[in-house]
């Protein structure tokens, strides 16, 4: 009963929020895998990222709340396919950026994109 009430309250709150851009529910496994991949690849060398305690680099922007941002690097729409392509090969997507192409598997890029899009705080 308590759980049901909580869900009702959440649904009511949800009704007050603006309509979400992404309608597909976040794949929580992909989000967790994406965070682990970002930590393993050392993305923190340039980015301060929620959930990763160290390092917290300053070369690139902090990524808290990234999922709520409309654009990637001020150039690309912040959607999963573009984001996965950007984290793998940023210079191809945004010429002139300092962020290099980073060798990673396609699945890792998709997971990292899912994780970044889930960051809403």
């Amino acid at each position: 009963m308590k759980g049901g009430a909580a869900i009702s309250v959440l649904m009511l709150l949800g009704a007050c929020a603006p309509a979400p851009v992404e309608t597909a529910p976040a794949d929580t496994d992909a989000v967790a895998r994406g965070r682990d991949a970002a930590a393993r690849l050392g993305c923190g060398a340039c980015h301060d990222m929620p959930g990763i305690a160290w390092p917290k680099g300053r070369v690139g922007p902090p990524l808290a709340g990234f999922g709520a941002r409309p654009l990637i690097a001020g150039r690309l729409p912040n959607r999963a396919p573009q984001l996965a392509a950007f984290v793998t090969d940023a210079p191809a997507m945004v010429p002139g950026t300092a962020m290099p192409a980073i060798p990673m598997k396609r699945a890792e890029a998709d997971d990292i994109a899912a994780w970044l899009l889930s960051l809403d705080d």
């Binding site: 682990d36 060398a45 340039c46 390092p55 070369v59 002139g96 300092a98």
Partner: protein, 315 residues
């Protein structure tokens, strides 16, 4: 969401997971001391409980002459003498006083907050300089000559051997050996100021055939330098770093001739890929605060790309 740190894989290293003949006795000794110390602590707590809360009969027996002879004299004498003899026998094989003939020799010098690695031939002549990473063949002992350039450091690759201080003005010797090919992480184990906790190390153990291939690959840089090398030379990097085969001859920082082939950056702490390389070059201070390489704020995006691509190509 819990905060977590997943830096370079296997670092900080596991300390109770021996992977060679020079670390197994240390781990066994650690477990025996831990279990033995726990048992003796339980006996002492039990005796204390009797002394405070026990029946008068037990209290009398605990304070009697016989108990004092047995628990106060015989027990510690036997246990401590036994431990001393056993411990010396167990660890006698770790002594670098008896170095096997023909053992590979490497001088490692601790610096704030990284490691110089100087490979030597059988006569103690230097054959190759590298940094922060040591390559060894499996199944044979390697003699490390440990020194320090500034303050006391301590060399420790827990899975391959014991822990040995690096002391300015002294050369301490330590034997390590790996049973199986793999990557074994190390860590400075003596507080040496600033980012001491971020002073890691990597040992890569190869099969003999792979080790020979690795040795043959350690040639001076042949890479097309282009804009990346030009930036390296014009931005001050060469004042501290050497890249053999180029005019870069600096000695204050790690030799970068093969930096692109290292497992890690920043002395064992970050995975090595173009992204971490760019982050380290532009602002290592955010990653390893107070390390001696300054942050470089003068590069454009394209310049940082070119410099990073060049560094990564130094295999």
């Amino acid at each position: 969401m819990t905060e977590r740190t997943l830096p370079s894989e296997g670092w900080p290293p596991a300390v109770l997971d021996p992977a060679g003949p020079y670390s197994e006795p240390v781990t066994l000794l650690a477990w025996v001391l831990l279990v033995g110390g726990t048992v003796i602590l339980a006996i002492v707590v039990g005796a204390l409980w009797i002394a405070l809360r026990g029946s008068p009969r037990l209290k009398t027996r605990l304070g009697g002459e016989k108990a004092i002879w047995i628990l106060g004299f015989a027990f510690p004498s036997v246990v401590l003498t036994g431990l001393l003899v056993w411990g010396l026998l167990l660890t006698s094989s770790l002594s670098a006083a008896r170095v096997p003939v023909g053992a590979m020799r490497v001088k490692i010098i601790g610096e704030m907050w990284w490691w110089r690695v100087h490979y030597q031939d059988g006569q103690g002549r230097e054959t190759l300089r590298d940094a922060n990473e040591l390559h060894i063949p499996v199944g044979q002992p390697v003699l490390l000559e440990l020194e320090a350039a500034d303050v006391i450091h301590s060399f420790w690759v827990p899975r391959l051997g014991g822990k040995m201080d690096m002391i300015p003005g002294r050369t301490n010797r330590l034997l390590i050996e790996a049973d199986a090919p793999g990557v074994y992480k190390g860590q400075c184990a003596e507080y040496c100021g600033g980012p001491h906790a971020l002073m890691g190390f990597v040992v890569v153990a190869h099969t003999p055939a792979d080790f020979a291939r690795w040795q043959a690959s350690r040639l001076p840089s042949q890479g097309a330098g282009g804009e990346g090398l030009a930036l390296f030379l014009s931005s001050g990097c060469a004042a501290c770093h050497t890249i053999r085969g180029t005019p870069a001859r600096g000695l204050a920082g790690p030799d970068l001739t093969h930096v692109g082939s290292r497992r890690t950056l920043g002395a064992g702490i970050l995975p090595n890929n173009p992204g971490t390389m760019a982050g380290w070059v532009a602002d290592s201070q955010a990653i390893k605060p107070a390390n001696r390489m300054p942050a470089y704020h003068q590069f454009s995006g394209e310049e940082l790309q070119a410099l990073t691509a060049y560094m990564v190509s130094l295999k």
